[in-house]
């Protein structure tokens, strides 16, 4: 959970829920897809560049999310939030924690089975590094993702008065 607090706009950039949902999906899908392309695809320059492009796309989307008002709710210091934001954070964490736990259990189960059945599993530094940053990205974005799907536009004021 990383919030980029701008000096000019400490409350975060205002983006619509729809835009945030698209950014979250792009960030969470493009990264593993890029890693898969680089891992499974032929070792040619165009394919590797496509994989790298997907990973960079994912990181750009994550960077765009980092400074948003919604990400502020899940990632800013708690003392900087008002009681409504803290209640939203509680809701986000209450959803994201079971999701992350489920993903972790599934990942460990897969590694256990894969090592027995000789399926693919991370085998060198580069692959473990990619898994680590994928896990880091997922941990960082899941609370914001959970919140983006729990809220409706009226609740965050997308359909209310202008900021």
């Amino acid at each position: 959970m990383i919030f980029y607090r701008s000096l000019n706009n400490p409350a975060g950039t205002r983006r619509s829920l729809r835009a945030i949902r698209r950014l979250v999906i792009a960030a969470l899908v493009a990264y593993p897809l890029g890693c898969l392309v680089r891992l499974v695809g032929p070792d040619t320059l165009p394919v590797q560049l496509i994989g790298l492009g997907l990973i960079v796309t994912s990181l750009v989307c994550a960077a765009l999310l980092a400074g948003t008002q919604l990400n502020r709710v899940t990632a800013e210091q708690a003392t900087m939030l008002d009681e409504y934001d803290r209640s939203l954070r509680h809701r986000a964490m209450a959803t994201a924690y079971p999701l992350l736990s489920g993903l972790l259990v599934l990942g460990i189960m897969y590694l256990g089975i894969a090592s027995n059945l000789d399926w693919w599993h991370p085998g060198n530094w580069d692959q473990w590094n990619a898994v680590f940053w994928g896990a880091f990205l997922t941990c960082s974005l899941l609370p914001t993702a959970a919140l983006a799907w729990q809220l409706d536009p009226a609740e965050v004021g997308d359909e209310g008065e202008p900021a």
Partner: protein, 64 residues
């Protein structure tokens, strides 16, 4: 819980952001209270009551 916050705010000509500024909460918080999506804490309810010069039960009332 229902409330008369939108009406009271409109009577004074305040925007959600202005009311939020006086209460020390965000515009989104005021919006969420007005639309009944969020019930404020007791300290915030007292703050609201003091600001409008009313009792809490004059602003908030139970559905039942």
């Amino acid at each position: 819980m229902n409330n008369r916050l939108r009406v009271l705010r409109a009577e004074r000509g305040w925007s959600q952001a202005e009311l939020g500024g006086q209460l020390g909460v965000s515009r989104q918080a005021v919006n969420a209270i007005e639309t009944g999506k969020y019930d404020p804490s007791l300290p915030l309810a007292f703050k609201l009551a003091r600001l409008f010069g009313l009792a809490i039960e004059d602003i908030f009332h139970d559905d039942q």
